[in-house]
């Protein structure tokens, strides 16, 4: 197993290297640069000086080698959009904000999603089931930024219970989390319901019931555990997804998190930030898949590492 993990980590290193290479060359290939003037062209000499200041006057391959060398020493450069700090300090400042919203969303959506899924499976074709199905359909079909606008109009503009945006107090968390959490909750609820129904129809459940076990024991001791194992498949990708934030939610609710930097970095041609963000995503996904696979092996004895 240790050999397997080492192989996977080595694979991840190669992926990260390739991701940085492709991103670096692609972003330099896009027209427009970080210091283009919006009104009148800057004098060529000034532009040349700015490019020199940021090392952008060198050939792209040389810039890449320099970048990698510095990155290996922990220096990811200075973001063009916020030159008063480093890329690392910027990410360290804004990422916890996104992580906070992401963590609350994951906990809430799993708790409520599992609960709704079970309820809807146990009360199939009743009003509870229909309600859960409606919520699930809404959650999967309406994009979170539309939900965000609805929530803002209701709770901020009309009722004035909650602020339209901002950060720093618990009340600022409510609307972003609510906007975020509906989609994953819907997915989880549907998934749990299907799994539960499938498990309920299996032979071992029939046997358990035939043995005269109380329904509560059948559901919670046997069905529950088996039906929830596949949820790890859902949890895995959700973590990097929520941990990197959403552009729409963060911009709409003025959340000073990481998500909006995906947008602003691309639009400002903020090369150091773009590469850093891509690397961050690559690492997060790589680690998440690795951990998910390991957990699988622990849970399901049929899976072995080769």
């Amino acid at each position: 197993m240790i050999g397997y993990i080492i192989r996977r980590i080595l694979g991840l290193v190669i992926v990260i290297f390739l991701a940085s290479l492709i991103t670096f060359f692609l972003m330099h290939a896009i027209p427009g640069g970080p210091f283009d003037e919006l009104k009148m062209p800057l004098p060529a000499e000034v532009k040349a000086q700015i490019l020199k200041k940021y090392g952008l006057d060198k050939p792209v391959w040389e810039q890449y080698i320099r970048y990698i060398w510095r990155a290996l020493h922990g220096d990811f450069g200075v973001p063009f959009q916020s030159p008063t700090e480093t890329v690392t300090s910027l990410i360290a400042r804004v990422w916890p904000v996104t992580l906070q919203i992401g963590a609350i969303t994951i906990v809430l959506s799993f708790t409520i999603g599992i609960l709704l899924g079970i309820l809807s499976a146990l009360r199939q074709n009743t009003w509870i089931d229909y309600l859960v199905t409606t919520i699930a359909t809404l959650g999967t079909t309406v994009p979170n930024f539309v939900i965000a606008i609805w929530l803002m109009l209701i709770f901020s503009v009309t009722l004035r219970w909650l602020p339209t945006g901002g950060w720093g107090e618990p009340k600022h968390l409510v609307l972003p989390v609510l906007s975020y959490f509906l989609a994953p909750t819907a997915v989880i609820a549907r998934f749990v319901k299907v799994n539960f129904l499938e498990e309920l129809r299996k032979d071992y459940v029939r046997t358990a019931r035939a043995k005269g076990l109380p329904e509560r024991t059948v559901i919670f001791k046997h069905v529950f555990r088996n039906a929830l194992v596949p949820i790890i498949t859902l949890l895995g990708p959700m973590i990097p997804d929520l941990a990197t934030g959403s552009v729409f939610i963060e911009v709409t609710f003025r959340v000073p998190g990481l998500g909006k930097f995906f947008y602003t970095s691309a639009f400002n041609r903020d090369y150091p930030m773009i590469v850093a963000m891509i690397l961050l995503i690559a690492v997060l996904w790589g680690i998440t898949y690795l951990v998910t696979d390991i957990i699988y092996a622990f849970i399901d004895p049929r899976i072995t590492f080769t």
Binding site: G32, P34, D36, L38, K39, E45, V46, Q81, P256, R269
Partner: protein
């Protein structure tokens, strides 16, 4: 008798104590608040801006807040609501007979918050920094008329060689120009200096931290929480002319285009729509129009005298043929676009200069190209494209930061008109700003829709961007000559005539097709009051350019009235 005197005295004392002179409340800067002003703790204005990296003009123009800036320093002059320049750091100024040397006499009462007096040295330092190519200032083209400016920017002479020097004493600043530039005082709106001492001690971002921030302007920095907010607090020791009423200005960071209107509706900010990034969408306008309260809070203005126009690559086919450009000018019904799409947010443009801008000549240009599809068709046929046959399919680029739903709708309408009247197929592409500007500045854009807003109130600014060294792929030697010569002319009458002729050439030669001038609206709450928010000399009530920026007088005339008690908790 003595009793009578005593009673009279008491009555007098009571009367005086009730009169405004005695009961008036002074703010922290010692300014008496108007009688209808709310208590001091309510004298806070809340606005929204995109996040910023600096507040200083000479550090970066584009990384500052939207308009809520220029509060830390005194520019040489300010602009009032009637678009007149008024003294600020300079109490007066004179110009030499040849029009090349300007002398600004600085106000000796103005001091930095660290106690150092504001002197010519701070201005000289700030300008030299901006001219230094090593600083890589993002607005380096702006001060081109200043002597040796362009050479310094190109690195041919040291920054110390520019024509910004101390005069006979530390309170005299002398600016020399390459050629007479009568608009120089107007340009000096943008001269808010850095503190040389603070810059040298703490570096370029000394104003980002209350501990190191130094101000000689009406406000000082109280708080700057990255990506959250900036709080400006009144400068108690401000020695300048525009003592403000407001105790604080709170700038919340966010994307004003996405969030400001909703935050305004929720009562979280007091002013909305004061900058280009806060233009209301058609849906917002509908909400405003339908709500009687909001309609009263909505005020249409001039904005930054912005003109939307179609541009061409006039150096290459098919637009190097004047007949083709003329055909386009005749084929577009601008009145229809404004009446049905732009509505309140603009007026029809006949030239590049908006009515109200110095030297604007809408009447003189109105009849050069009127909507005439038949003539358009004929001209296109003469150019070798009968009914649009053989004409390439056009890709009209629209710059993304300007591509509001209204602008995109107008672009589509233009495309439909060109198809219907000329048989030309037009594809509309919203191009991301950087890509767009890269192509425009390199003169590689074939056909596009964009806008330009003024930098200072003079024809030399707006028409200057059309000279052939600028961003447009259009060249007319007579136009170039007129604009260059008129810019340097002191004789106002002759100057205006030359600019008028230049603008006429620009329209006739179809350097661009001028579609509409933007008249953006602003919302402010009923409790936001101030002389600059009352009608101007034209009778127009608006948040005039430069809005709440510290280079205008408006922000310093604003106070919060007692009505606020009904709105704020």
């Amino acid at each position: 008798m003595s009793k009578k005197v005593l009673v009279s005295f008491l009555v007098l004392v009571m009367a005086l104590s009730l009169s405004p002179a005695f009961s008036a409340v002074k703010n922290s800067a010692g300014k008496i608040l108007p009688p209808d002003a709310a208590p001091l703790e309510y004298q806070v204005l809340r606005v929204m801006s995109q996040p910023a990296t600096t507040l200083d003009w000479f550090i970066s123009v584009y990384k500052r807040t939207n308009e809520a800036n220029n509060y830390f320093g005194e520019p040489l002059v300010r602009l009032n609501k009637n678009f007149e320049i008024v003294p600020a750091a300079a109490t007066r100024w004179t110009v030499s007979k040849d029009g090349l040397t300007w002398t600004f006499y600085l106000d000796k009462n103005i001091k930095w918050s660290d106690g150092t007096p504001l002197t010519a040295e701070d201005f000289v330092f700030s300008f030299q920094l901006a001219a230094d190519p090593k600083h890589g200032w993002d607005f380096a083209w702006f001060y081109s008329p200043i002597k040796n400016w362009d050479k310094a920017v190109r690195g041919e002479v040291p920054p110390s060689a520019i024509g910004v020097k101390q005069g006979k004493d530390p309170y005299t600043l002398v600016i020399t120009t390459e050629y007479p530039a009568p608009y120089l005082p107007m340009m000096m709106l943008y001269s808010t200096p850095l503190s040389k001492k603070a810059y040298e001690k703490y570096g370029p971002y000394y104003n980002n931290d209350p501990k190191t921030s130094v101000s000689c302007g009406p406000y000082i920095l109280e708080e700057w929480t990255k990506d959250k907010q900036i709080v400006f607090r009144i400068n108690k020791n401000y020695g300048g002319r525009v003592k403000p009423y407001l105790e604080k200005i709170i700038v919340t960071f966010g994307d004003p285009g996405t969030s400001a209107f909703k935050a305004y509706l929720a009562g979280e900010i007091d002013i909305c729509g004061y900058s280009n990034s806060q233009i209301f969408t058609p849906a917002d306008l509908e909400v405003i129009e339908k709500d009687p309260e909001l309609s009263k809070q909505f005020h249409q203005g001039f904005g930054d005298f912005r003109t939307f126009y179609l541009g061409f690559d006039c150096y290459n086919p098919p637009f190097n043929d004047l007949r083709v450009r003329k055909a386009f000018a005749y084929a577009i019904d601008k009145e229809a676009i404004v009446n049905t799409i732009i509505k309140k947010q603009g007026i029809v443009a006949y030239g590049f200069l908006m009515p109200g801008f110095p030297g604007a000549n809408p009447e003189g240009l109105k009849n050069i190209y009127t909507y005439n599809p038949e003539l358009a068709k004929k001209l296109l046929a003469e150019a070798g494209y009968p009914d649009g046959k053989g004409f390439p399919v056009l890709d009209m680029w629209v710059r993304s930061d300007l591509a509001s739903p209204t602008v995109v709708a107008a672009a589509n309408a233009i495309g439909a008109m060109l198809k219907k009247n000329l048989g030309i197929d037009v594809k509309i592409t919203v191009k991301e700003t950087k890509t767009f500007m890269d192509a425009l500045n390199a003169h590689k854009l074939q056909f596009y829709l964009v806008s330009y807003g003024m930098d200072y109130l003079d024809q030399s600014n707006m028409l200057g961007i059309w000279v052939s060294t600028g961003r447009h792929a259009w060249k007319n030697e007579r136009f170039d000559k007129l604009v260059k010569e008129a810019s340097a002319l002191l004789d106002k009458k002759k100057r205006d005539e030359m600019f008028k002729e230049a603008e006429k050439i620009l329209v006739e030669d179809v350097g661009g097709i001028f579609l509409w001038h933007q008249t953006p609206g602003a919302l402010w709450k009923p409790y936001v009051k101030g002389k600059d928010l009352e009608p101007d000399k034209y009778g127009i009530t608006a948040l005039h350019w430069p809005g709440i920026e510290g280079v205008g007088t408006t922000i310093f005339s604003i106070y919060i009235s007692k009505d606020v008690l009904k709105y704020r908790k």
